[in-house]
Symmetry: C3
Subunit: 332 residues, 3 copies
Amino acid sequence: MKRFVDLAAVPREEVLALLALAQRLQHHPEPRALAGKILGLVFFNPSLRTLASCQAAMLRLGGGSFVINPGQGSWQLETRTGTVMNGAAAEHVREALPVLASYCDALGIRAFAEGKDLAHDLAETTFGAMAALIDKPLINLESAANHPCQALADWKTLDDLAVPRSGRFVLSWAWHPRALPLAVPAAVLHMAALRGMEVIVLRPEGFALPPPLMQSARQAAAGAGGSVRETSERAAALEGADILYVKEWGATACYGDSAADARLRAALTDWCVREEWFATAAPQCRVMHCLPVRRNTAIADAVLDGPRSAVQLEAHNRLPTQMAVLHQLLKS
Amino acid sequence: MKRFVDLAAVPREEVLALLALAQRLQHHPEPRALAGKILGLVFFNPSLRTLASCQAAMLRLGGGSFVINPGQGSWQLETRTGTVMNGAAAEHVREALPVLASYCDALGIRAFAEGKDLAHDLAETTFGAMAALIDKPLINLESAANHPCQALADWKTLDDLAVPRSGRFVLSWAWHPRALPLAVPAAVLHMAALRGMEVIVLRPEGFALPPPLMQSARQAAAGAGGSVRETSERAAALEGADILYVKEWGATACYGDSAADARLRAALTDWCVREEWFATAAPQCRVMHCLPVRRNTAIADAVLDGPRSAVQLEAHNRLPTQMAVLHQLLKS
Amino acid sequence: MKRFVDLAAVPREEVLALLALAQRLQHHPEPRALAGKILGLVFFNPSLRTLASCQAAMLRLGGGSFVINPGQGSWQLETRTGTVMNGAAAEHVREALPVLASYCDALGIRAFAEGKDLAHDLAETTFGAMAALIDKPLINLESAANHPCQALADWKTLDDLAVPRSGRFVLSWAWHPRALPLAVPAAVLHMAALRGMEVIVLRPEGFALPPPLMQSARQAAAGAGGSVRETSERAAALEGADILYVKEWGATACYGDSAADARLRAALTDWCVREEWFATAAPQCRVMHCLPVRRNTAIADAVLDGPRSAVQLEAHNRLPTQMAVLHQLLKS
């Protein structure tokens, strides 16, 4: 493995090997495995778990890291090609990224969706152009429509919770004050499909996941013995559910139009997950969320603080899975 | 010792053991003592000495660290319970802190006073709620009304300066453009009392330290053979003083009312420490301040640059004492 | 060597030894050379290469680092002496820098020119005052009129490119939306002169490099068998050139007057390096720039992406030369 940018691009057996490696590293530390190795981290957007788990993973394996935040202590970076750079950006990623890559053994990049043009974001135009500049192992720390590190941690969490491979996995939209990117729902949808689960995407009208994402997930499900469908009927979707994976995202019916998005979501504040949602779910149904989560807007306090919540385990799993990815990319 | 959040909660003999350990580590380095160990650092507020000394201490002992600045490159964090989170904060400390704790071996948190409600701040409501979320060794890097790392470094400084245990320690208010928290005066008052010194709190009317702090310090003094009193008479307070510890803090008579505080302090610009202050002090009387200090508003250039100043030694002592605390919390 | 603050202050044979050390470390790593050593980094201004290469260099040599950004997560620092500090700055460098130096084995400081008074900036008044406070090995990470780490990396780049010692080195001004400091042109001018090259400074009227810089470079050139001259005639300057080193800087005819500077540069947008510039240059003439560079304002895409560009090699060389400087300052 030379890059970890898209879980869908990693053969299923390699994903399973990464999960096994994560379990091994969790229980049998290798404190010198990456001695002398350096991870460069470029964060165009805020981060808590990704930043801390990447740095902790390198330290746990004996390596180190450095962090660049463009525009915050470091130059603002231009990503568009062909631009006459007479604005705020002092440097172009065409210079910055190969330079940073030359200082380290692997580079991780976080660059959220621009949220203007759906096709542009789904095509990973910006991240793809950046990835093409780098001749070192590369990790996608969340791009416009992907978050493979989150997806891998989520898969491990399902394994840790002993959720059956063929279990019922409901990915539900939740309310948020504004439109958020598709990266996590896209990555998680594919992950659950690739795991072979019965996946149901529950979302209000106007928030359907884009057809290419659904189609790709259906293909992955077909190969793994699972299925993917979508609905806006909450009770039916949650019937017998083993997992409710909660995530906020922007309206796809009017992608990039924040006023239209706001009008659509104004009536949807009841898409805040409460205990009542689980009336028809499997008794042991657990709640997942990639975090950060807004309490009492996306998920109620009682659910987050109750026995259904698996968000802590899920977030903790960012560390062993990050260690596995780094170990796989960097161990000589 | 599992936590270092309040010097008053550490038995006196354990404080003395930490001071002895700091001396030992200063003179006999243990460059692999914390090999493979990780310190997570969460800074809700600015820091220079605390940040740098914590990171340097881990490096000196063979370990590493990561830093999260909520709202600066990382999500803004909510601390209030029960809130409907539809504002600026993307995440709640109830999620963020246990997650970060799960990535490291010890967590340090800096969270200044809110400065609105005195009882709330003195009760350490915010820090206490955060501390309750963490099941790892925890270090208070300054909370609403405490700063145990500073207090420990100050104690070591008094020892290094060979100030007698029963010496006269004057903690004096000094001018600042606005109200600052009570954390340092509270911690230092208790430290000097616990060391057994003759402690005099010198402050203008309206700036008396809250009775619970004075009472707790008097109790500590009683147990250690010292005493605590307060006055607004500068010359009398400084008579025979061995140490003048300078600190700025907000008016307690009108805590949380910045306009009233500003009116009170408007007439107090002569509370800038100058050489004249020492007319009646012991000839070798030294000046301490936790830093950062505003020159020529809190302390005059001539004093800071003169032979009385111990601020450099005091700040430098943040490193060996931090090493001692981390060694004690993390060394297997 | 105790400090690396000015290449002109380092004897020529020591510069050559640093370059040899950089080559050695590049090809024969010493992963434990600086085990347990700490580099403190203070960035008053943004940085990408300097920050990342310093941190990577310490990691590659087995050491560690910490970073302080005054005003961003750390206190805003005052640099002027004698000030009554009742403004935004909470701390003076007179306290902050010795304290930070006491936490590490070497300190690096970046502090750009104030850009108001040319004599003040050329005299390195601010950096000099800061340097005088520090009793540890010190590295200048770019001061008002110097950037020795960049100059050393550039020298190595010339060696790597096998540019003859006596080759023709054209340092050309380029357009930028606003006045930039003289640090890089000053350092690079001196470096090329000290290397013994035929140096030509190409710049429009109003942008001549200050006479003291030219004079000092001429002296260095004389000792090394090279020469230094200046012109505003582009074609003549580039005739037979081996290297075109591109850099933006502010008008020296009206230093500190941003309106006058803007008027002067308004007519100079054709000072964007394009392939046509090389009509009379040596066929293999290469382009250097310290980065960050604004594409299509200072240098055209076609040049940066074409075979003449050496900017990636140049930026990469920041790492081995930084390792050499740190190794020299810190290896026991």
